[in-house]
């Protein structure tokens, strides 16, 4: 533990603004990036659901047309 205490700048003065700024910006950018990635994943999910809904709608329409054709033929 003592080794660690000598390694770390405990009680040292704050970083100058030009140096600290990049770390603060980095942390907030990481947060925003994670949010954007999450929104992107959700958008992909939404696209997949929309595609499946479109497939199902075409399937249902096709089936209805086939049933009507069968009735006419009968």
């Amino acid at each position: 533990m003592l080794e660690l205490a000598t390694l770390l700048p405990i009680g040292s003065p704050a970083l100058p603004l030009d140096e600290a700024g990049k770390y603060v910006a980095g942390a907030y950018i990481v947060f925003v990036l994670l949010l954007v990635i999450y929104v992107g994943i959700m958008a992909a999910k939404l696209q997949r659901i929309e595609r499946e809904m479109r497939e199902l709608a075409s399937f249902a329409e096709q089936r209805k047309q086939n049933e009507q054709r069968d009735e006419v033929n009968a």
């Binding site: 009680g11 704050a14 970083l15 994670l34 959700m42």
Partner: protein
């Protein structure tokens, strides 16, 4: 109807995030000891609190699932844990950035707060392969609930143990002695915490709504006897 109230909730979340970011940038004073780098705490600490509370909430939903047998609660538990794992990843990254700036190291293995959070995060990271390993949906949900309850009980115990430990370097936001945060910092911190909590709730609702929509499509597919698509998830619980 998982999407009910999602719009006002989303608006409130965006407004709260904007308010908290404004307070962090323009209102909260610079810390006398750490200076500008302390501004990371308004992001890092609320994320950590929300993630840990989210894990506990996941455990509470799991209890509801085991008591009622209703799959809805399993979905709630799954999504709560899923969202908290994402928040947890953000906590680890933002914490590492702060540590590099303040301590000169990305990670310090001697620090109980860091290592205990990593243990909690890794514990919950095993939740996904654990679920994935079980084929049967009912068994999967039951076992996952037991996991969520056990791990959820571990979170506060772990937090208390770390709090009681004599930490060497990691700062305490709410100090147990020598006072806490000054008023302006406390207000900013509480706004940030509220923003993160709202963000967590909103994203959980978004996730549940997406799962519900996906579940409805599956139901429709079954009702129409339509051919199933190739890629269906075995991990995520179905929401009807």
């Amino acid at each position: 109807m998982y999407g009910k109230g999602l719009r006002p909730l989303s608006i409130a979340t965006v407004a709260m995030l904007a308010l908290s970011l404004s307070l962090v940038a323009f209102y909260a004073p610079l810390d006398a000891d750490q200076g500008f780098i302390q501004k990371i705490f308004y992001l890092h600490v609320p994320l950590a609190i929300t993630a840990l509370v989210g894990f506990i909430v996941g455990g509470v939903f799991a209890i509801a699932h085991l008591r009622s047998g209703n799959a809805k609660w399993d979905a709630y538990s799954y999504v709560s844990i899923h969202m908290s794992v994402i928040f947890g990843a953000a906590v680890l990254i933002t914490g590492a950035i702060w540590a590099k700036a303040s301590w000169g190291h990305w990670w310090v293995w001697d620090e109980p707060t860091l290592v205990s959070f990593l243990i909690v995060f890794l514990l919950y990271a095993t939740y996904y392969p654990f679920r994935y390993a079980i084929e049967d949906r009912d068994r999967q949900a039951r076992y996952a609930s037991v996991f969520a309850i056990t791990a959820g009980a571990f979170v506060p115990l772990n937090f208390m143990a770390v709090r009681m430990a004599q930490s060497l370097v990691h700062p305490r936001v709410f100090a147990t002695a020598n006072g806490g945060l000054p008023g302006s910092m406390l207000l900013t911190f509480l706004c940030s915490l509220a923003a993160m909590a709202l963000l967590w709730v909103t994203l959980v609702k978004f996730e549940l709504t997406a799962k519900s929509a996906s579940g409805q499509v599956k139901r429709l597919r079954r009702a129409l006897d339509a051919p199933a698509p190739g890629n269906t998830s075995r991990i995520a619980p179905e929401v009807s």
